[in-house]
Symmetry: C2
């Protein structure tokens, strides 16, 4: 079912790449660094060599200092495991430690000593440990004799075997498919499980500008927070324990105290989540016509429900805060995507490029024989997917609508997978290695559960299901509604009353107990949510079964398509982002968002104060307003700006997942944190634009100034080797 939650799927969609015509395009894998134009990089300002960034032979280098947080990126900034990332990446950790009385979200938090640091339960730090090419090992699992429907399973089994072998060393391993399955790599990470909240500025700095400024320039958000990774006294990863000791990273970044200027070299390492630079025009067309418009609609309707409930009380508001934030983020992104795709001629460009590639293939009998059918196959698969897109979208959202149904579905799946003969047979995400996180997530659910909200979200999902066209109905939902003996909204109301009235899943103990029950025991509960989850699982199996054939066809067509593309293009080509560590180099640079306007590359402290309205998202701390009137602030005041820099723009090529990534100067010093892209950049997931795609970074100078003069995080400054200036 996971597959249906995302728009299109990487596995099934491949398209013609846009060549990296511009200097700054490209999310490069570390082994590609040596293939780039070294003279040009040096001229731009880098002083580190590719092997200093990452040495593939020794598995050491600057990249050791750049862990993933699972969805976000970060950097180590001290020998004691101190980590800096975005405020919005640490938001969950701040939220779970906040109560209406101790409101760290609003007021910020600073541990003056290590003892005051707060556990960030559920948080993980994944330290980069290198990767290797396993293409042959993976692809040899595919036999020419296999039927399409057998291929997916064969690949999956092989990947699991390889992961299991890799994890023998105690590392966490992941197979990453690059170029849509043309290449496979095994990525290794050390998973640190004791993560603590060290420092977060008040929301009025860390989230300054809020949803209004999200994806926008000019920007003035102080989007940073600090965590610390701990390990057992033996130096090995361990669960939270007061006796644990700070993790000693192999490398950590020096934080720059000298401001950068326009035109300076910048590089970012981080974990971009997903780009779609090699997709077919037909797939883009579906995004433009269906997926984004639908997303916009459902996001708006969902957030309206959440906000209505949030107004009923501060505690409810805190429970829903993270979710509301996430939806707004996604909504604005979908809207920007829609706007960008509508305005651009990207689809036409892609079509033209596809035609060109087809001509290149057709021009040579050998190429024709090898690659000839790939485009047609992929287009056919896209058309097949289109036939059930309404159902797929609703089906994917039902399990997410109610936390109780979500928990039941997870328990059902967990029981199903555990019943399998060996761990290798189990679906990823439901293997033995996933148990700890699963249990923790179950326990955390309680914290954010608000039953009235849960009911309304579920009702909304049911209404969507009830509105599906004939031929795309979801049978278990239809059956459940029919079972009430009523129709329309009455049936939905009755079903919800029945489910929430008799379920025991709202009780944490009862819910958690499900994780130890097998399918028969779950069934015997006669819990209506579990029953619905069982029925939905039966349905999703049917869908998965049907999908296997098309998946198998794509498994062959996609790599062929990419191979043809690589051959036709020649030269280095970076793969799409997929959550693995990447490198992007660029410069500090403004842009023209529209005719008659130029967005300058820097904002300033004065600009922070100028946006202050005293209300909502623009409500600076009084100390900041006071301080903004004073100055200069010695090393923090950039003489070129005559002020403390706040945020800056760079031409780095990033995407979601890069949040919290260090942006570095040519010496590898942290000059800021990437935390957003501009509105015009949104469509860069499809195509990077040298004119319009910009990374928005918060300056290290602003961060250090706030830590020094406002938040008095002098202990942390000293830990990073920076002597505070404020008294």
């Amino acid at each position: 079912m996971r597959k249906l939650l995302v728009i299109g799927t990487i596995a099934a969609c491949a398209a013609l790449a846009v060549a990296p015509m511009y200097a700054d395009e490209g999310m490069w894998m570390l082994h590609q660094l040596g293939e780039l134009d070294q003279a040009k990089l040096k001229a731009m300002g880098i002083t580190l060599t590719p092997t200093e960034l990452w040495d593939l032979k020794t598995n050491t280098g600057l990249a050791s200092a750049i862990p993933s947080l699972g969805g976000c990126s970060a950097s180590f900034v001290s020998a004691e495991g101190l980590i800096v990332t975005n405020h919005h990446c640490a938001f969950g950790a701040i939220q779970q430690n906040s109560t209406p009385e101790k409101d760290y979200i609003t007021k910020g938090f600073l541990a003056k000593t290590k003892a005051e640091e707060l556990p960030a339960r559920g948080s993980r730090v994944y330290v980069f440990k290198g990767y290797e090419d396993i293409t042959t090992a993976v692809r040899s699992a595919l036999k020419p004799s296999m039927k399409p429907e057998e291929r997916g399973k064969a690949l999956e089994t092989r990947e699991k075997e390889l992961v299991a072998a890799c994890e023998k060393d105690g590392l966490r391993c992941r197979v990453a498919s690059m170029y849509n399955g043309y290449k496979y790599y095994m990525f290794k990470q050390q998973e640190l499980r004791d993560v603590r909240l060290v420092y977060a500025p008040p929301r009025s700095i860390g989230e300054y500008g809020g949803e209004t400024d999200n994806w926008m320039w000019p920007r003035h958000t102080g989007d940073w927070s600090y965590l610390r990774a701990y390990v057992g006294a033996d130096g090995k990863p361990a669960d939270f324990n007061a006796a644990n000791v700070p993790f000693k990273p192999e490398r950590f970044l020096k934080v720059a105290t000298v401001p950068v200027k326009e035109g300076d070299f910048t590089m970012i390492m981080g974990y971009p989540g997903r780009t779609m630079r090699y997709r077919l025009a037909a797939s883009l067309q579906d995004d433009l016509e269906f997926n984004y418009p639908q997303r916009v609609k459902t996001s708006k309707e969902t957030v309206a429900i959440l906000e209505e409930h949030g107004r009923t009380g501060k505690d409810v508001e805190i429970k829903l805060a993270s979710r509301v934030k996430g939806i707004y983020n996604g909504l604005k992104k979908s809207e920007g995507m829609l706007e960008g795709l509508t305005k651009s001629d990207l689809i036409e460009t892609k079509r033209a490029e596809e035609a060109k590639l087809a001509a290149w293939i057709a021009a040579d009998p050998a190429r024709k024989a090898k690659y000839g059918a790939a485009i047609a196959t992929l287009e056919r698969l896209q058309a097949e997917r289109r036939a059930t897109r309404e159902r797929d979208m609703v089906f994917g959202s039902i399990g997410q609508s109610s936390s109780l149904l979500g928990a039941a579905s997870t328990a059902v799946r967990w029981a199903e997978e555990r019943a399998k003969p060996s761990d290798l047979d189990r679906e990823m995400g439901f293997q033995a290695r996933d148990e700890r996180q699963l249990r923790q997530r179950f326990s955390l659910t309680q914290r954010n559960l608000d039953l009235p909200t849960d009911k309304d979200l579920f009702a909304y999902a049911l209404r969507r299901a009830a509105a599906l066209p004939a031929g795309q109905r979801i049978a278990p939902v239809d059956a459940a509604l029919a079972g009430t003996g009523k129709t329309g909204d009455d049936a939905i109301k009755a079903l919800i009353e029945k489910l929430y009235g008799t379920t025991t899943l709202a009780d944490e103990k009862s819910r958690t107990a499900m994780l130890d029950e097998d399918l028969a025991t779950l069934q015997a509960r006669k819990d209506p949510f579990v029953d619905l989850a069982l029925a939905l699982r039966k349905e999703s199996k049917k869908i998965e079964e049907a999908d296997k054939r098309s998946e198998g066809e794509a498994i062959v067509a996609n790599p062929l398509y990419m191979e043809a593309l690589l051959a036709a293009r020649g030269g280095a080509l970076y793969p799409d982002a997929n959550g693995t560590l990447r490198f992007t180099y660029a410069t500090v640079k403004g842009y023209s968002p529209r005719d008659g306007v130029y967005n300058k590359p820097f904002t300033t402290l004065a600009g922070v104060a100028a946006k202050h309205t005293g209300k909502g998202e623009f409500n600076c701390p009084p100390s900041l307003l006071e301080a903004a009137k004073k100055g200069p602030y010695e090393r923090y005041t950039d003489p070129r700006l005559g002020d403390v820099p706040s945020c800056f723009l760079s031409t780095n090529d990033i995407t979601g997942g890069n949040s919290g990534s260090p942006i570095m100067n040519g010496k590898g010093e942290l000059i800021g944190l990437a935390f957003d892209g501009n509105y015009e950049w949104l469509t860069s997931d499809y195509e990077f634009s040298d004119d319009l795609s910009r990374t928005i970074n918060v300056s290290s100078i602003y961060m250090l100034w706030v830590m020094d003069h406002l938040d008095k995080a002098h202990n942390l400054l000293r830990e990073m080797g920076i002597e505070p200036l404020a008294k």
Copy 2:
């Protein structure tokens, strides 16, 4: 009553000027040109001498080419009386010739020959004929023995005598008080009464961006239209007559075909309406706290009423269009003023400057004796005005609310003034010289009259009057409402039914007849609107009587204050704008509207097309969209921009009334038309900002390109000496 219609009054408010610290500040009178730094002007790029712009001895010069349209500015651009001004200045002329069938507002209009030109009834062209200093003649009317309440009348009588003497030559004369009565000048104009509509682009070009873009940058409005002035065969001003001949201006402007660039010299001559650069801080405070907030509120409520009615039919919409446009314009301006005043520290600055001037005065016994009491007196008068501000605002708006009541009030006043022994005794605006325009206005009322709208606007005014606090009630309105025997909204409803049910003023003939009736005859009509107008006039006389004393005090205090200020400052100081011809010099220049953003000085044709949404205010003609994809367009394409320039910014110091002003290069060629200021510029009526105050001009190049390639106004291009390029 007129006095109450404007915010504060110039006569009663004077304050400390902000010295023209910046090169580009200043709306200079023409005789001051010689006092400016000629070397600097030359270095900036002017090649004309002050006397070429205007020779005070011979009363000739470039200014002859720049007539006033009464509220707007314009230029002659051919020897045949062809005039170019803003589209929004010619809007009334376009509107009165438009019908749902011949919708020139939407489709534009082009007279291919002079015979096709359409009469613009009510339009006037006032040709500049020079001015002279009459300070001694005016101020000698004031005798030391006079009581304050006698001074206003004495000044008025003297001014009328001087105007009457001046108009003996057949010119139109006006006494303009400068520096709040410290100086007086007699301005002479030739009034041309036969004005015709020659060419207007479609609204989708001429109003492109509409209210959304109003006061905004980047801007892409093609805000131009062409008129032509006619005179009798004898060359003298005459009413419309098909036999009339084109007016031959003494001078006309050459339209530049070479684009300007950033940093180029620019100058504007035109008729800025009103600035308040010398007002007291106390007066500004009242604007900020009361006047603008009230204006915003009533504008919003009024426009809501108009728009609701506009939706009832295309004919109603056309009738109300001009009014809606005007209110939106004022609303956005009031909002910008409020925002600007709230953000700036202008009031504090003014207070500090007032204190400084007070100290300068106090430092010398002779100065103290002469100027000592002026500031205190002016502040006291301001405080007195504050006590009745709610009533004054509502009283001023009642007569404007209903067109029928407005007509009745005018007729009553006209009868009252005509009964006076001599023309000189009559109030300005109600003298013999005003009769023609008054009659024309009465006749035009019919064209824009929509009774349901009129009723609702009147009801709105009555509700506001009913809500006035005790001590500020308007007795005649209270009496009329009480006369219905009802209370609250019922009384308002009943009064409106009575008034509209029995009046004959909706009939054009009956209404126009009033202008020939004396007060007794009007009274004998027993028309309820006339009765109300009579009662309101009685009330306003009471108010005027009470105002005479404070007016008399201001007449003495204001000039003393300004005299002190001029002496304290030294050097050339320009007077506030008051609708007389002024000169402002500057450069083409962008600005930073906020931290992190720079507004570039030019927009382009590509930018026009990029704003196109196909809806509402952003709906380009298809021909424009097509053409924008092509090019380059020979002389119209600026190689620096790689495109046809659309609009541009300059640092000229202008205000409302400058609309339609020619912006010229150093040679006096028309390089565009000023049509707006930026949002940040709005508060420049109080204080000019070199950083933020910008004039928005439409480029002559864009105008010529549209005339050449889209609207095919080749006859006009040739008349202006420009050979068209399009086939």
